[in-house]
Symmetry: C2
Subunit: 185 residues, 2 copies
DNA sequence: TTTAAATGTCTCAAATATGAGAAATTGTTC
DNA sequence: GAACAATTTCTCATATTTGAGACATTTAAA
């Protein structure tokens, strides 16, 4: 088997549920090219699948983010690499974000998943704050807005990639151009 | 009645379905503060409600967009006003976009709704193309990317507004700052 | 206050989604 | 090709969602 079935199911689930949170399990099975029955052998119920998605997203995003964060002492380079890393995470980034900011999620500092999320995604805030203190990005904008913008640009990029309207070769550079200028760098 | 029940249901549906396309009708009814039974009196089945949402979004977005488009002969002012108009449309803008670009939508030039969509949203492309021809925005970026960016920034703005992380007084200005710089204006 | 329209309550039938057992089928490995 | 694991197929039972009838209750207007 080219790709592990379980992994394929998780990856499909992330894409499907990111697009449509209450979509029937069957859609996930279809995309993973397995029967609903097979899916259920790996994941007892919906909650279990969702949890597996959460772990997968957490793992991938965290790894990419940390590598990028440590890639350079230069804050601006860090940020650029983090942007690219998040684009590479694709819907894993989008969905993890959604789970922690929408869908009626109540952020809970006792919840281990929330803590892990904060730890990974807090790096973006850290870097942006640092840049602002050094006067390397606009002082008019708030850190919160720049963080929102970061997420928005990632989503634009992922959408553009999936719809195929923008060539994938140039898209990362476009994203960085727009983001860096957009925060006044 | 302060607000027409039917309208309240439609507005709720736009918010709920934008967030979770396959959410049960009951969620919409809850948000609109009516019973599921009442909702069903206005909208026979799910499809009918969705259609009503579509019409409402089309109407609101189109009106805002056209007013903005005609607000000034200056292309850059047009674009700025269009950005503000779309922010004002809120989830109506987001959801209409989603419907025509995701959820397995097949764009069909025979379909009247698609034609109306293209006509309204094509204005953005028109203005951006114009600006690029006049050298007022970057020539490195493609029009497709700048359009994606436009949508991404609107979504960031709406998210930031609903989550309340960024003050609503300054947010439109932030959005315009980031978008205009982001396209190299 | 009476009347009419809108909404809620209770109920039910049909449709769809979910989860799992049992046996048949496919695919891999030795 | 026998033996084993993974997957499919077929089948059910259960849960949830959907849509609507019948009647009570509320609300707005005359």
């Amino acid at each position: 088997m080219l790709q592990d079935t379980q992994q394929k199911i998780i990856d499909s689930a992330i894409i499907i549920f990111n697009d449509d949170f209450s979509a029937p399990i069957e859609k996930v099975a279809d995309r993973a090219e397995v029967t609903r029955r097979t899916l259920h052998r790996y994941f007892g119920e919906r909650k279990d699948l969702l949890l597996a998605c959460q772990l997968e997203m957490q793992k991938t995003c965290r790894a990419g983010m940390l590598t990028a964060f440590e890639s350079s002492p230069d804050l601006l380079v860090k940020l650029e690499q983090m942007l690219y890393a998040c684009i590479d995470c694709g819907s894993k980034y989008s969905f993890l974000n959604k789970l922690h900011n929408q869908q009626g999620h109540i952020h809970d500092h006792e919840n281990e998943e929330c803590v892990k999320y904060d730890h990974s995604f807090g790096l973006i805030t850290t870097v942006i704050s640092g840049l602002q203190e050094e006067g390397l990005v606009s002082r008019q904008l708030t850190v919160e807005w720049m963080t929102s913008l970061f997420t928005g640009i990632i989503r634009s990029t992922i959408d553009a990639l999936t719809s195929g309207t923008v060539a994938s070769a140039s898209i990362k550079k476009f994203a960085w151009f727009s983001f860096s200028k957009g925060i006044g760098a």
